[in-house]
Structures are given as C-alpha cells and as structure tokens.
C-alpha cells in the first residue's frame, strides 16, 4: 500500500541544503572588490614615471565619456528595438557602419573639393543627412526582409537571423566598397582642442558628447510627449492590445527601426570623425559594446542605454589603466575588450536587470 512505502519525507543531504548561490556570490563579490581595490591602490601609488600623471587621468575620463557617448547613441537603437520586439538586433552595428560609409563618399568628395572648409556647417549637415538616410534605409530593409517574417517565432530564430544578417551586411559592404580602410575627413574647426575651465579637451570629443546628450533628450521628449512615442510605448508593453486599440503595430515597428537608424547614422559620422577612418568591419566591436552598454544600463530603458553607454566608456577607459597597471600587466589596453565583457558578465550575475533595473532577474 502507498502509505507504507513513503513513511518518511525524502531528506535532502546536508550539502544540498546550503545556499550555494549566495555563498558563491559573496565570495565572488569580495574577490572582485579586493582585486579592484588593491589594483587601483597600487596604480595610484606608483612612483613618478611609472604611473599616470593627473592630466593623463583627465584624458582617460574625457576619452571614456566621448567613447561612451557613441556607445550610448548606438545602444539607444538596441534598446528601442528590444523594448518593442524583445529581440537583439545583432545587425545594428552594421546599420551604424553603413551610415558611416555612406557619408564617407560625401565627406571625401567635399574635402577634396574644398567645400568642407568653405562651408563646413552646410557640408556637415549634408554628410549627416546622407549618413542618417543610409542607416535608416538599411534598418528598414533589415526589418522588412529579415525580421518581419519571423515575428512570433521562438526566441532563437530571430537571433540567428540577426547574426546572419550582420554577416551578410558586413560582407556586402566589403563587396561594394572594398576591404581597405578609408580615411575620413573632418572639418577644420573640429580639429584641435578647446580650453574649457582650464583643461584642454579635444574638440571632436566634446562635440560627440554634446550631440549624444542632445539626442538622448530629444528622444526622451519624443517618446514621452508625442503620439507616436506613446504608440511605441504601448506596443512595447503589449503589442496585441495595442493593435486592438487601433495602433498600427507594423508601422510603429518600422518607425522604431528608423529612429534607431537615425541615431546610428549620427553615431557613425561621429565615430568616423573621431577615429578618422571607416571600414566594413567597423560596426562589429562598437555594436557589441553598445549592446553591452544597453544591458548594463538596463535594457528597454532609454535612460539606461545612455547611462550604460557612458558607464561602459568610462570603465573601458579607466579600467585597464586604473586596475591592471597596478598589477604590472603589460599592455593593459590590449585587454580592453576582455574588460568590457567581464563587466557585462559581472553585472548580469549580480544585477541582471542592469543598473537601472530592479535587482531581480526577469521572470520568464
């Protein structure tokens, strides 16, 4: 009979009852905090000539913020699409790259003809316009051809498609434009540095930061105040109900991709001017970094993307220099990508929702 067989409740072994997850997290947290702390301390107490001067730190910070601004602009595209479709648009880095490349030909032509110097503002406006247009076209095509047929498919499918699209777009650019890196022109007034409160900032990086700031503000206003923005928020919450409320979900999705494209196009020009180069592969690393930034800040949130971008830029810039130098690691900046991802892994372990998210993992 049943009752005789199961007299006693099955017991769990003593080992199993330990809260392993918490134990490991604590150990990990302490180890990391110690490593970071000790590393930073040692770097900062290095003797003259071996460490970094105060001015170097300033440069690091400026660099980090500027790079972070670019990440933020791209990250916004990721976070918008993720908010609406719950998918990572892996090919967004290529949207960025095409914007940069598309505008390259105009930038190049204007530089050679001198137009860039004579009428820098007009030239810049046109260059930005071309970049934005190219990026938007690529983004919208991407949605239409690769993503729309897969709406509602299990999560794995659109992700693989996005990876395929990314490969395809990269190599299309390579086929179209060739594999060599092209030098990207910059209007004269953006060369050199500005003196602000006694510190010399590279002009281009200041401009990048300001543009990103303005973009984030405008985007937030757009999402909060306009009807389209409200529709986007509705679709992000529940696309089925939104369509029942009369919102054209397809159109909203296209608009979302388009906005992401606009931001990516702008980021493309800024990036190209900062590093004075474009090539077909340039979208990969910033793309990954931007997605990392979006997750870091809290995916699905605009403020999160912006914050994540800046934070990541700073971490990438300060991390190797501040922490690794202290341990006498040679060429610490080589390890920058490793640093980026380590940060991502750690954030997702301790705070899966990101900086601005709740502390809990999202319930499936």
């Amino acid at each position: 009979m049943g009752t005789d067989q199961q007299v006693r409740v099955a017991q769990l072994g003593r080992l199993e009852r330990l809260p392993w997850r918490r134990i490991i997290l604590v150990i990990l947290g302490v180890t990391i905090a110690t490593t970071v702390g000790v590393g930073a301390y040692r770097t900062l107490t290095l003797p003259e000539g071996q460490g970094y001067a105060a001015r170097a730190w300033g440069d690091f910070i400026v660099l980090g913020l500027a790079q972070g601004s670019i990440y933020a602009l791209i990250a916004l595209g990721y976070t918008l699409v993720y908010g609406i479709l719950r998918m990572i648009n892996f090919a967004h880095g290529e949207v960025f790259m095409f914007g940069a490349f598309g505008s390259y030909f105009f930038a190049n032509a204007y530089e050679e003809s001198g137009f860039l110097e004579r009428q820098p503002i007009v030239a810049l406006a046109i260059i930005l316009g071309v970049a934005i247009a190219t990026s938007v076209v690529v983004a919208v095509l991407l949605e239409r051809i690769a993503y729309r047929p897969l709406r509602g498919a299990p999560r794995l499918v659109p992700l693989i498609t996005a990876i395929g699209a990314s490969l395809f777009l990269q190599n299309t650019a390579r086929g179209f434009f060739g594999a060599q890196t092209r030098g990207y022109a910059k209007p004269g007034f953006l060369e050199g540095r500005w003196e602000i409160i006694g510190v010399a900032f590279p002009r281009i990086r200041v401009v990048v930061f300001l543009v990103a700031l303005v973009s984030v503000v405008l985007l937030t206003l757009f999402i909060e105040k306009t009807t389209t923005g409200k529709s986007m928020r509705a679709v992000a919450e529940d696309s089925e109900i939104a369509s029942l409320m009369g919102i054209n979900v397809d159109r909203v999705i296209v608009i979302t991709f388009a906005i992401g494209g606009v931001l990516a196009g702008i980021a493309g020009v800024l990036f190209a001017m900062t590093f004075e180069a474009v090539n077909f592969f340039m979208g990969f690393q910033p793309g990954i970094a931007a997605f990392t930034a979006a997750v870091l800040g809290g995916i699905g949130s605009i403020a999160g993307a912006a914050l994540g971008g800046l934070t990541l830029g700073l971490l990438e810039s300060l991390g190797p220099s501040l922490i690794l130098t202290g341990y006498q690691v040679p060429s610490p900046f080589q390890l920058k990508p490793a640093f980026t991802f380590l940060v991502l892994v750690l954030v997702l372990i301790f705070r899966p929702g990101g900086i601005l998210g709740t502390g809990e993992a999202e319930k499936v």
């Binding site: 009979m1 049943g2 009752t3 005789d4 067989q5 199961q6 006693r8 409740v9 099955a10 017991q11 769990l12 199993e16 009852r17 809260p19």
Partner: protein
C-alpha cells in the same frame, strides 16, 4: 493523529507581496496526512500564490512553510519536489513536443539517479532503472484508465485533447511519487461528466495511493465531493475553515463571493 506529530504541511503567518500588492498576508493553515483539503476563494484571493510559495517558485516575504516539521522556504523547486510535494498548474504546462509517456517519465526524474556514465555505457543498473522509470510512468498514466494508455503514450503531448492534457499533467505529478499533491483547479474547463470522473480520481489518489491532497477548486460539486476539510481564502488570508457545510454557510465566505453560491 497524535498532537505531537507535525502537520504534513503547515504555513505559519505567510505573507507575500508583489510591489504594493499583498497576495498573501498572515496566512495560517495546515494539512495533515491522509486528508483531502480544498482551498476555495474568489479570483485573486492568493490561492495559486500560496501554491507557488509552498513549491518554492518564490519565497515568502514573511512567515514560514513547514513540510513534515521542516522549514522548506529556502529550497529550490526541484528540491522540494524531491522531498515529496508534487503539483499541477492552473494553466496546463506540459512539455508539448515530448510524448505522453516521456512527460510522465520526467516526473520520475527525481526518483532516479543514473548520470553520464550510465547514459553512455548503459550498465545493467541503468537499464533496470530506465525500465522502472518507464513502469512507474505507465502506472501513473494508467491511473486514469484507458485514456492515457496504449498507443496514446507515444503521441506528442500537444496532440491531446484538453481534458487529456489536464489528466496528463496530473499523471506527471503522480509520477513524482509525492507524499503531498497540490492540484490547481484540476477541473477547470472540463464538462460535467469529466468533472465527476476527476472527482472520483482525487479520492482514489488518497485511498489507493496514500496521497495527501490539497486542491484549489472553484467547482463546489467537486469540493463537496472530495473534501475532508475546506479552507476559504480572501485577500490573501484565511477567512473560514471547516467542513464543506460549515464553510459554505459562513457569512464571510458568502460575502466574499458576493452572495453567489454555486449550485451544489
């Protein structure tokens, strides 16, 4: 049942909130071995939340849950299942692309042990265990008669009719060899004949298999037909407890249901 023997399941002052919403607050209840206890209450009363807290999907914010005298709030769901609590879900959650038999065999997972070595080399011990798992799974399926027997067992779960899916989910829970079985609205969506059949199954679970059963139900015919005891919840706390007649006539309960009493 002597006074010093612990209840099989006991909730002490359990509270659980989601944001500002208190799904459970100050909930005290218990189930003793061999009982069939029904939990009733209007929608949103916290019944499924209580199940989720007991089975470890999330922990309570306050209070304690004791299984045979032992606190289980810190344990993971799979550990709690291994300790002897099985459950079904309010909406059917089968493994749709696995066969009926495979679904039931998953239930036996926590009662078996073979690992990588066994999988690769298939020593006699592993093969015996697989056979035993198969047998127990079949027994659980055949508890419901011929509906889940024979050729049906090799069909993918998504191809079953609604009622059969519910039965499969219960069979799967049975296959975990539990001491305590939690059934979450098992007759939802079934027609009267199926409902009566299921009511009898629940009683059989206790009589033939020695299980203790805690059922969330809306259908008062079932509640009346199976329960040794009924507990009524509203807004996350217990508002009445006793036999079916006691609870059904309790003014608080009637009020909670806004005066409607299902024919019964």
């Amino acid at each position: 049942m002597s006074v010093d023997e612990p209840h099989l399941l006991e909730l002490r002052n359990v509270a659980k909130h989601f944001g500002g919403l208190y799904a459970l607050s100050g909930l005290d209840m218990h189930v003793d071995r061999g009982e069939i206890v029904s939990v009733i209450g209007p929608n949103g009363a916290g019944k499924s939340t209580m199940f989720n807290v007991v089975t470890g999907l999330y922990g309570p914010d306050e209070g304690d849950v004791l299984f045979d005298g032992q606190s289980i709030v810190r344990f993971a769901p799979n550990q709690i299942t291994r300790m002897g609590i099985g459950r079904t879900f309010q909406t059917v959650h089968l493994f749709p692309n696995m066969t009926v038999l495979e679904n039931a065999m998953v239930g036996q997972h926590s009662r078996s042990r073979s690992g990588v070595f066994g999988a690769i080399f298939r020593p006699p011990g592993t093969r015996r265990e697989e056979e035993r798992i198969r047998q127990r799974a079949k027994e659980s399926l055949e508890f419901f008669g011929s509906r889940l027997a024979g050729y049906r067992q090799e069909q993918p779960a998504f191809s079953l009719s609604y009622a059969n899916r519910r039965r499969l989910e219960m069979a799967r829970a049975l296959a975990t060899d539990p001491l305590l079985l939690l059934l979450d609205e098992p007759t939802a969506g079934m027609n009267p004949r199926e409902t009566i059949e299921l009511r009898d199954h629940i009683v059989r679970m206790r009589d033939e298999r020695g299980l203790t059963v805690l059922v969330i139900e809306h259908d008062m015919r079932v509640v009346k037909g199976v329960s040794d005891r009924v507990i009524a919840l509203d807004y996350g706390r217990k508002i009445a407890e006793g036999t079916y007649e006691d609870v059904a006539n309790d003014p608080q309960v009637i009020e909670a249901y806004l005066g409607t009493k299902a024919a019964g």
